[in-house]
């Protein structure tokens, strides 16, 4: 199944953008403007959707003509591209994820996809799922960075790794029985810790937009 590798699903959606000569600014520009203002990282609306490993939204105007001897070609439409790595373990898979999208961030989805042809809105969840699947194309290859673990498992693993490393650094060399008591207390505390927010476990880097990180 080329869209799926283990429990991770690589979703690619191409939604044709509305062509309306009367729209000002045009629908693709309206999408671009909205996307440019969306927060990233843990504040991203997609971080609120269960099962999102990563995702990206792109407005594709056309194919670029690079000059002779290439042939000048054009797309039939402008497209919104939605690429997403998501959890698809167990029953439901893609459908469960799309349902989660519609239920957690309907306003944001509508703000983007309302500019696309045939979009039914996110309130009608079944129609939304049907629409997204109709726009889906095969992914074949996608970025693999999560070792077949779910978002929850990854966040828990990162939290555990950091906590255990800190514990070792603070306690290494301690007398065995004392260490055991400390560890039991630590393990109980760690177990009770809430799951970190998606997008919160990376290094605190000042990511700049607009190609300023290269």
């Amino acid at each position: 199944m080329p869209n799926q590798n283990g429990s991770v699903y690589g979703l690619t959606i191409l939604s044709p953008i509305l062509e309306d000569e009367k729209a000002s600014p045009s629908h693709d520009l309206q999408i671009r403007k909205y996307l440019a203002g969306l927060p990233t990282g843990e504040d991203s609306p997609f971080a609120r959707t269960p099962g999102t490993h990563l995702c990206r939204l792109v407005v594709m105007d056309d194919v670029i003509y690079v000059g002779a001897p290439s042939i000048e070609e054009h797309l039939k439409s402008k497209y919104l591209i939605f690429e997403c790595n998501l959890d698809a373990a167990g029953d439901g898979g893609l459908e469960r994820y799309l349902r989660g999208l519609a239920e957690s961030i309907p306003e944001q989805l509508d703000a983007v996809w309302n500019h696309c042809v045939g979009y039914p809105g996110a309130t009608d969840v079944l129609a939304f799922i049907k629409y997204m699947k109709a726009c889906q194309i095969e992914t074949t290859f996608f970025f693999a960075a999560v070792n077949d673990k779910s978002v929850t498992e990854s966040l828990r693993a990162l939290q555990t790794q950091k906590a255990v490393a800190d514990f070792i650094a603070r306690h290494q060399g301690m007398e065995a029985s004392l260490l055991r008591a400390e560890f039991v207390r630590f393990a109980a505390k760690l177990k009770a810790e809430p799951l970190p927010k998606p997008g919160s476990m990376g290094p605190k880097r000042d990511i700049k937009l607009g190609g300023h990180n290269e």
Binding site: A165, A169, Q172, K208
Partner: protein, 461 residues
């Protein structure tokens, strides 16, 4: 490919001179015509890459320019804007990308590097201090004669000499200078482990275009280079970084952690970088120093990490394993062939014996230089991803133990095998052992290009 024209390439690019004394003079040009005249006058003195069949010279001279310097020399605008963007910007503007923030941020650099006045670096090496001084006096005479430049300041550096013999030791006590890469067409005494790893386990030279502009690189592409081609060809880019070493902090930390670590202090020091302080690779000799390995060119750099995936011999985050991962990322080492740099440079400041009292404020460090065809793809990538981040090495957010800008946080994991002499260990609350005091990006032109600059005939058309 055919043999390179060594008479057209600055010697500093092709070989480490292994001369014990160095002075790096930082120049400012006030007038383009006079500066060009000076470059013309310097040209016969510039050391080329020709082999020294008649023995080592007494001294050497090489020259490199910042983008600001090339602008001050009034190169055509069409040429100036054709340089790679990171070189045009200079190292200070790249601080966030390089992780040069906090204590290493440009606001803490030496005045020389906070200002925009460095136009060129004149690198002079000598077999003795007298030979170095003599050459510098000749250069000064040329500068006086042509009024071609102001010397803003200079940086002296020197190898540690023990019993009259030059050593490769830096201030933390490690033997440095192993394993610069081999490049196709560059004649030098090569040894296994210095080029790129081949599928059959042997080592081959890297593509010339990883070091020199105008030649195919490891992707079969020409490196991004300024126009005209003849200005770029046989030239390279250099990152110069003045790295202050907090020797007192290093010694205190090693002493304190060495008492807690079951393998002992010297082994812990070896785990930090992946070599014992005498240079023995941990991968080949995990339990002790071994001079027979260090002195054997067939062994001293000839190792891989494939059989040490758990890092129980050489820690996964050890300095040498980070900056030259060999086969550690799989794919038979293919992922690293475009991330190699050639290192030059010497320590500065007085050497202190182990029992000698030291302070972090002592003027002591290393004048570090990295040469590469692409500053962004090679030096900057290594600094950003492998020194200041640990993801490629599967060390999460951990930074390089010795070079990292830790700011009192962060950790370094010593993987162990559970035995008493090789236990796992975590070094935490890492201070900054090294502080960046400044530096910049330079272009080292070919001899032909220097001549064109001197004559003012660089023509981008």
């Amino acid at each position: 490919m055919s043999k390179l024209n060594e008479t057209d390439i600055q010697g500093f690019v092709l070989r480490g001179y292994n001369l014990p004394f160095a002075r790096y003079l930082f120049l400012h040009f006030e007038d383009a015509a006079r500066a060009r005249k000076l470059i013309g006058a310097l040209l016969p003195s510039i050391t080329t890459g020709q082999r020294w069949d008649g023995g080592k010279p007494q001294n050497t001279v090489n020259i490199a320019f910042t983008h600001r310097g090339l602008a001050a020399l009034e190169l055509p605008a069409a040429t100036l804007i054709s340089f790679p963007v990171e070189f045009q910007q200079g190292m200070r503007a790249r601080a966030e990308i390089l992780g040069d923030i906090g204590r290493n941020a440009p606001e803490h650099w030496e005045a020389l590097w906070r200002e925009n006045r460095v136009h060129a670096c004149l690198g002079v090496y000598g077999i003795s201090l007298a030979a170095l001084d003599a050459r510098c006096a000749e250069l000064q005479a040329l500068m006086d004669e042509t009024h071609g430049t102001i010397v803003l300041t200079w940086q002296d550096a020197a190898a540690q000499v023990v019993d009259g013999k030059q050593t490769g030791k830096e201030h933390f006590g490690y033997t440095d200078g192993f394993g610069n890469p081999d490049y196709l067409g560059v004649e030098r005494s090569t040894q296994p482990g210095q080029g790129k790893l081949m599928p059959d386990g042997s080592w081959a030279p890297l593509a010339t275009g990883e070091l020199l502009l105008g030649y195919a690189d490891e992707a079969g592409e020409l490196p991004v280079a300024p126009i005209p081609h003849i200005l770029a060809s046989n030239g390279t880019f250099m990152a110069y970084r003045k790295l202050h070493q907090n020797l007192a902090t290093f010694r205190a930390y090693l002493e304190e952690q060495g008492k807690l670590y079951g393998g002992g202090k010297e082994k812990l020091a070896a785990k930090f970088i992946g070599r014992w302080r005498d240079g023995t690779p941990l991968e080949l000799s995990p339990d002790s120093e071994n001079q027979s390995i260090v002195k054997d060119p067939n062994r001293s750099t000839n190792f891989t990490y494939g059989k040490d995936a758990d890092g129980t011999r050489c820690p996964i985050g050890a300095h040498v394993r980070r900056v030259h991962p060999r086969d550690a990322f799989g794919f038979q080492g293919k992922l690293i062939d475009r991330r190699r740099i050639t290192r030059r440079g010497l320590p500065y400041g007085p050497f202190a014996a182990e029992d000698e009292a030291v302070s972090d404020s002592d003027d002591r460090g290393v004048a570090f230089m990295a040469l590469n065809a692409s500053l962004s793809r090679q030096f900057e990538f290594v600094q950003q991803q492998w020194i200041e981040y640990g993801n490629d090495a599967r060390q999460g957010n951990d930074k390089d133990m010795l070079m990292g800008n830790h700011g009192g946080k962060g950790k370094f994991v010593v993987q162990g095998d559970g035995s008493a002499a090789n236990p796992p260990f975590v070094c935490a609350k890492l201070p900054n052992f090294v502080a960046l005091l400044g530096g910049d990006y330079f272009f080292l032109p070919s001899i032909t290009a220097l001549g064109m600059i001197a004559l003012g005939v660089v023509d981008p058309r």
